[in-house]
Amino acid sequence: MEAIREFLSGRIWLRDFTPFPQKEIESAIDAGFIVVQKGITEELQCVRCLEHSAEKIVSYNCAKCEAVCYYCRHCIRMGRVSSCTDLITWKDPLSSSPYSHSFTWNGELTDLQQQASYELEESLRRNRSHLVYAVCGAGKTELLYPPLYKALSEGKRICIAAPRTDVVLELSPRLKAVFPDTAIHALYGGATFEEGFAQLVVATTHQLYRFREAFDLVIVDEADAFPYSFDPALARAVGKSLKKDAPIIYVSATPSRNLLKTVPNQSKIFRRFHGHELPVPAFRSLWNYRKSFNTKRIPEKLERWIKLRLEKNEPFMLFFPTIEMIRQAEPLFKSIHNGIEAVHSKDEDRKEKVMKLRNGEILGVLTSTILERGVTIENIQVGVVGADEEVFEASALIQMAGRAGRSSAYPNGEVVFFHNGISRQMDKARNLIISYNREGGR
């Protein structure tokens, strides 16, 4: 019973799909420990993800009820919620009591990081939301450590929500190393079930649908990133997962205007932790690159750039606008060098390949926007093919450029936007990077 309590505390879960025997769940319900609720409300809103649009809450003839029922298409990948399925939560959730956590980080914050860290702690002391606006490579994660340590020691339950699985996979081992005695769970689609009650949860933003009034603090990492900014339901999910009046910390290198306007307390860091400027992207024309790839040729300028990287033994990331183009390009690049790999969101070996790339076992990688954030590789050089294409908004371009020059050993990396005509978003990205460098230099 205790295991079920630990699991269901703060969670809202499909009754028929818990990791426990159905019998034990039934007896906990009979004993009144578990609250049962229908999955879709009378007002046709999904109780798990709070979706309520007519396009996503749809009706069907239910053979179980022999009546018309509704289900939610929005969060269906987490197991279908319908008006005749039960969602369960633990009535009196566990809360962690204050106890001493170990904090084994012996790095040092720069003055800018230190100041932001103080400001953050001050906001938390007053229970207020806060935005950390810091450039790629400013050391955002590290400046969170002291406030996190303080909040954990006070017994707060905390969630760090990131937009992508890759970011969760990079972040959670780092946190486990810094807080070795803290129960930390990593949640993402396809994650294995972890026992116990986690005081610190690192999750993809989608996983927040499965929580309700669970956290004393949610840290929304890369707050601007797709799908977060695109999907109001995810913003609602953050709100739902929080306890009443609990604050949110937003962390972003490219916050939206809305975020800048609505979050009252902000800290800004426009300088990387190693003190060097952000690499400013160069624009290089690559006319008709689509046609080239269609006819199985790598455009000449691009080929030269890649060969130079191989010659100098510099690892590189080459971003593409579509998965289709990656698939087209992969064999062409492999014929230049077999050590070049492709990674995209539909790749089954994605997790392994990203790991290899981090360990420096891959020379260069052709990728989509999945690797635009949260990835740090020493001495990486960055190219964006088709930087003018619509999928690449300024924020995405800034993130991709931000992969370069992150380590103090190699603070300068090359960033090239290969284009078929300069877009406004490219200009915006470049101008913002230049303005960060100017502000950071003051």
């Binding site: 396009e55 749809v58 069907y60 003839n61 239910c62 053979a63 179980k64 009820c65 029922c69 289900y71 298409r73 269906i76 990948r77 197991g79 279908r80 319908s82 005749c84």
Partner: protein, 218 residues
Amino acid sequence: MNCYLCDNRLDLKPSWRDLFFLDPEETICVNCREGFECCGNGCRICGAGGTEICGECSRWETTGFRGAIDSGKCLYAYNEAMKDYFHQFKFLQDVVLAEVFAGELAKAIRKTKASAVPIPMNKDKLRKRTFSQVDSMLDAGRVDYIHLLEKNSEIQGEKTKEERMATRNLFTWNGNPVPKNIVLVDDMYTTGTTLRLAAKVLKESGAERVSFIALIRA
């Protein structure tokens, strides 16, 4: 509205055809539609690509199921796109996906000019899944159909081919009047056992001609 599969906005181009015909509304985008692969014409019994009669069907014709199925057709190959679609439809229970191929399925059924009879689900299983994928596709395609069979509880997937061949009493006739010319409808043709067992029962109950349409050829 958005594509049922990739959730991108559907660009619906108005056409003269829309004005004059009541085609079922498109539910998925061109990109997603392109991922599906049509089944070619071939075997006169099961419709598999290539020869006049495929190896599997000619083997069936040497068994007690000889002549159980007169002809048949599968609409789509079981490629990656179809696997994803089918998973979302059947196992994630995304019932609206019945609409995606309903129009084509209806067209193929009407062409046979036979009475449509869906392969039924076992009653307990139907209650568990909350919908029948075949019936919901027929409903979405506005095809009239009659249920003539009842399915006894047995799970096909867990058996070997030989065991499937030996399962004789998978279906029983439910007693409704049996038309002379029947088209059986199923979601997936794998070994052909299910359809042959059903066809045999129908022929023993008075049907003269039994053909089938299946959405997918696995």
